[in-house]
Amino acid sequence: MNEAKDVIVVHELTKKFGNFTAVDHISFQVRQGEIFGFLGANGAGKTTAMKILCGLSLPTSGGGTVNGFDLCREQEKIKRNIGYMSQKFSLYADLKVWENIRLFGGIYGLSSKAIREKSEAMLRYLDMTDLRNELVGDLPLGWKQKLAFSIALIHEPAIVFLDEPTGGVDPETRRLFWELIYETAERGTTIFVTTHYMDEAEYCDRVSIMVDGVIADLDTPAALKERHQAADMDAVFRKLAYQAKRE
């Protein structure tokens, strides 16, 4: 496995809505197997940028590749190679655990045999074998999130995008969730994560902080803290975010 391979390459990526420039010429690379923290205050443009990376919207100018596929021309291929989990807990609450697994396996074109094997392995791994016939809506939030994360990985994507995955859960559940993220990254899957919790930013290999549509800084948490002479990531974030001019 080539550790130095870049799975996300973005060059001068820009998105304008009328006169408003949501994302302003950002450039960065994410390496395979990296946990990449994508931080920014609300309205800084990180959701817009992430939408482009997921193949949901087209950039106004600039471009890049995700897992080698072009952001402007190969959106369908990108979609096949990424996993996605959003802040809103998003599985079907009125479907059972195994039905959800099977649905998303089917959506990503897995064979029935593969789906069966995957769901067995997944349920064992999550220690949820007894819960397979439960409605997802009846599970505690922490379980739901772990399940949603695993399902986002069902087609073995190269990159998984997590949009504030741990919103609204207690610190202990968050810690367990991050263990899951670490294990996934160790297997070579790239993690692209946005979060509002600065302690989580510390867990990332590298962190980018967006302010007003541009990347204000990007480095390892340790380097960022040193450069901005801050005790923790929270202080770094506040120093950078206070430069923001737009609401």
Partner: protein, 357 residues
């Protein structure tokens, strides 16, 4: 293809797991047909008829017997003068009075005609008109020359079920397809599952089609239920071609799906979707499709408005095919109209749906 089937299976699960949905979708048509068939019938059963005239007059006696034999009418009493009847009508003891002139039989024999007056209770015009029509019908049968013979084509006993069965078909199909489709799409938006589908390789059109298919299937079940109930419980005939009726219905279902999609695009919560389809679809459909109020009696502006209600054209066609039993050649203007609407609705809604995502 595999993704597509997983998706359709999921939609069916959503429908069958939610008791309320299944109740609305499968029970409502039955309830509506039964309600309209028996409770909300505009026919009047067992109207009370007072007769004013000479009880000994043979012609009068003949007619009184005739009236009494009619299943919808029964003669309460025979009175010698109109004054007695006026009091009874005021108290609500009688619904209609038939007044024969003095020496009725004699005038009939010698002059070839005698006069009869029918008094209806105008305080309730709809009912009065209905009852007076029944009485007229009986009188026509007894007196050859005095009245024109009226015969109702296609529906000799003027049953209201011949009118409302097509109406209920339009209403139910519209409701199930538009409302349920709209709500199920908006629910995904609300729950955030739509995002998951969008980042997946499933195409937006694929999402739309797989949402539509289960409701299409359910609509066909509804259609079958309504047709069976109307045929075997209400005795409404199906005179035309079943195939043509199915084809017309499929077209209307597609138009309704288009409407549902349109609603799902403009509403962001399930409540909004419900309100829009309730107030914006069901009400206008009830009022302007000719189910309850004839479009011909509306002001011209409203008549033009009623022309843009797809259900109106569908109901006209169902009446023609089911009741009149005519073929394709007689419904093509309406069919063309509905076809244009369907194409328009589908194109616009699919476009908007894709753009909003």
């Amino acid at each position: 293809m595999k993704a597509f089937f997983s998706f359709i299976r999921k939609e069916f699960r959503h429908i069958f797991r939610d008791k309320r949905t299944i109740l609305i979708v499968l029970v409502m048509p039955v309830v509506q047909i039964v309600l309209f068939g028996f409770a909300v019938s505009t026919e009047v059963h067992d109207a009370r008829v007072d007769v004013v005239g000479d009880a000994a007059d043979p012609a009068v006696r003949r007619i009184v017997e005739q009236i009494d034999r009619n299943p919808y009418l029964h003669v309460a009493a025979v009175y010698p003068s109109v004054g007695d009847v006026a009091g009874r009508m005021r108290k609500g003891d009688t619904d209609v009075a038939v007044c024969f002139e003095r020496g009725y039989d004699g005038r009939l024999q010698h002059d070839g005609g005698a006069s009869v007056r029918v008094l209806g209770d105008g305080s309730d015009p709809n009912t009065a008109q209905m009852i007076v029509n029944y009485v007229n019908g009986v009188l026509q049968d007894t007196e050859a020359a005095a009245f024109p013979r009226v015969q109702y084509m296609y529906n000799p006993s003027v049953l209201s079920s011949y009118n409302f069965v097509p109406g209920v078909m339009g209403l139910i199909l519209m409701l199930v397809c538009s409302m349920m489709t709209a709500i199920s799409i908006v629910r995904e938006k609300e729950n955030g599952t739509m995002e998951l589908l969008l980042v997946s390789p499933v195409r937006p059109v694929g999402v739309i089609i797989s949402k539509a298919i289960p409701y299409l299937a359910l609509s066909l079940v509804n259609l079958a239920t309504i047709l069976l109930l109307s045929r075997f419980v209400l005795g409404v005939p199906l005179r035309g071609s079943l195939l043509l009726l199915l084809f017309v219905s499929a077209l209307f279902i597609l138009a309704s799906l288009g409407l549902g999609l349109l609603i799902s695009v403009i509403s962001s919560t399930q409540k909004t979707a419900l309100l829009i389809s309730g107030m914006g679809l069901t009400m206008p459909t009830m009022i302007f499709s000719g189910i309850i109020f004839p479009c011909e009696s509306m002001p011209v502006v409203l008549q033009y408005f009623s022309d843009i209600i797809p259900a109106k054209w569908y109901i006209i066609m169902v009446k023609k095919v089911m009741i009149e039993g005519v073929g394709f050649a007689y419904i093509y203007p309406e069919l063309l109209m509905l076809l244009m609407m369907t194409v328009f609705l589908l194109v616009v809604s699919v476009r908007l749906f894709k753009r909003r995502l």
